[in-house]
Point group: C2
Chain length 270, copies 2
């Protein structure tokens, strides 16, 4: 079979909730002809504040739901799951599973000039040490600075993303001060909610600091990993809580007007 | 049987997470000899951002877990569940179930001088209309002003509760401005997290506005509803996510140094 012969199976994408839609947005831009199945676990979001065992359990159920479909790959559009459970999910499933940590780190390694890289994410992502492990294995000379930002997700979900909002600017400054002080020139946005804060974070860090969108990097990697669909493509959305609530916020993350017509899934059955 | 003869069965108390501990604190003060079983659904918190059906499902599972114990009553130390599912849970269970809405409203009715009462709570609590329904049924002359405060729970859980913190003060002022403008003289804290914000809320509303602690009012009502235990009493804690995480924050809500030694429950099995 020709390496790039069409493969019309779907790409499964999941996240704890809405944030993974920033990765879907990039997939739409890179591969408009793909069939995408998105699952957002909106009845149990957030994951980033929970313990390891709970995250693993939820991630397994999310994958089990997606595997009902005929898939060529799964993209974990959630740094918390990527950090805590990627190895385990890869072991347990015989299809390619793409997380956010490796592609975000790879991009950071090509971008940094001074070898000082920052990573921000949820409490669970930071606790996992996944970014440290990957980066230190690949390049022992890099210096990594990490910071958990537990209030960023609820602030984003409440629309507090705008320049000039003293609430988000104060919280951002508190979280980012140690990274700025450390002189990082590259900052990994290690949570798929954070691209919505790009402006606020960039304002604080300054124009010389490169921000890495980990969800977009996962989408970039995915686009090189398997044979493309030959169209026309389309995205089906599934959620575990009220689809109307998901629909109301989806446009904010996808940066487009969209009716998601999301289906409702009882994820506890998987 | 003498009306106040000892009844050594336990009191079950549940909440979506930690907030309900503010009601346990009052129960400890009022009824130090009771046996209390507390369940906090920490693997699925928060409830207040979710849709009705999800909240109903979770509440039924919480009650099913508690009903494994020999109980004389259940206290719903969660305004979201009390607002959305109290009637249904009462219908489905043959033991007394005490919610927060009725006792908070009753106290508000005795405290207000000018008949203008405010209620703040989660998005789901406000959407349910439960406070309006109860108050208008009891006293058609009262004027009720409601406000959802979706950022209060994450801010409290991140310790942003202190006077002088511009983040909580800004958010509080935004939420409370319409209630202050309306001239309420009584404000129901319609979420068991909010007592931790009493100082900040009181600073903004002014000394003439009476704050009603809905969880404490539920505990007050409970203390009059059944025969007391004759001791020595004690509280057992159960959670659905990592007990260590619960233990770290419990003292903040109970206002005492405590080792909760919480047990882990797979709530999805109930």
């Amino acid at each position: 079979m020709d390496k790039r012969a069409p493969d019309n199976r779907s790409i499964g994408v999941f996240d704890s909730g809405m944030g993974g839609l920033t990765a879907v947005r990039r997939l739409h831009a890179l591969m408009p002809k793909e069939n995408i199945i998105y699952f957002g676990d909106t009845s149990r979001v957030p994951y980033g504040t929970r313990g390891r065992d709970t995250i693993v359990k939820y991630a397994r159920q999310d994958v089990a739901f997606l595997r009902q479909f005929d898939l060529k790959a799964i993209v974990i559009a959630c740094n918390t799951v990527s950090s805590v459970a990627l190895d385990l999910l890869t072991e347990e499933n015989n299809i390619p599973i793409i997380g956010t940590v490796e592609p975000a780190c790879r991009r950071a390694m090509t971008m940094t000039q001074n070898g000082r890289v920052g990573v921000i994410g949820t409490a669970a992502t930071m606790r996992s040490g996944a970014y440290e492990k990957y980066l230190h294995k690949k390049d022992g000379t890099l210096r990594l600075y990490t910071q958990a930002c537990p209030l960023f997700v609820p602030l984003v979900e409440n629309g507090r993303v705008h320049r000039g909002d003293i609430v988000i600017e104060t919280v951002a400054a508190e979280y980012l001060a140690p990274l700025k002080e450390a002189g990082v020139d590259t900052l990994i946005l290690g949570c798929t909610h954070y691209p919505l804060l790009e402006e606020v974070i960039s304002d604080y860090m300054g124009p010389d600091v490169t921000l890495i969108d980990s969800g977009a990097e996962a989408a970039n990697l995915a686009s090189t990993q398997f044979n493309p669909n030959d169209g026309p493509g389309g995205t089906r959305y599934y959620v575990s809580d009220d689809p109307a609530g998901f629909d109301r916020l989806a446009g904010l993350f996808l940066q487009e007007d969209v009716e998601t017509n999301a289906g409702l899934v009882d994820i506890s059955r998987f």
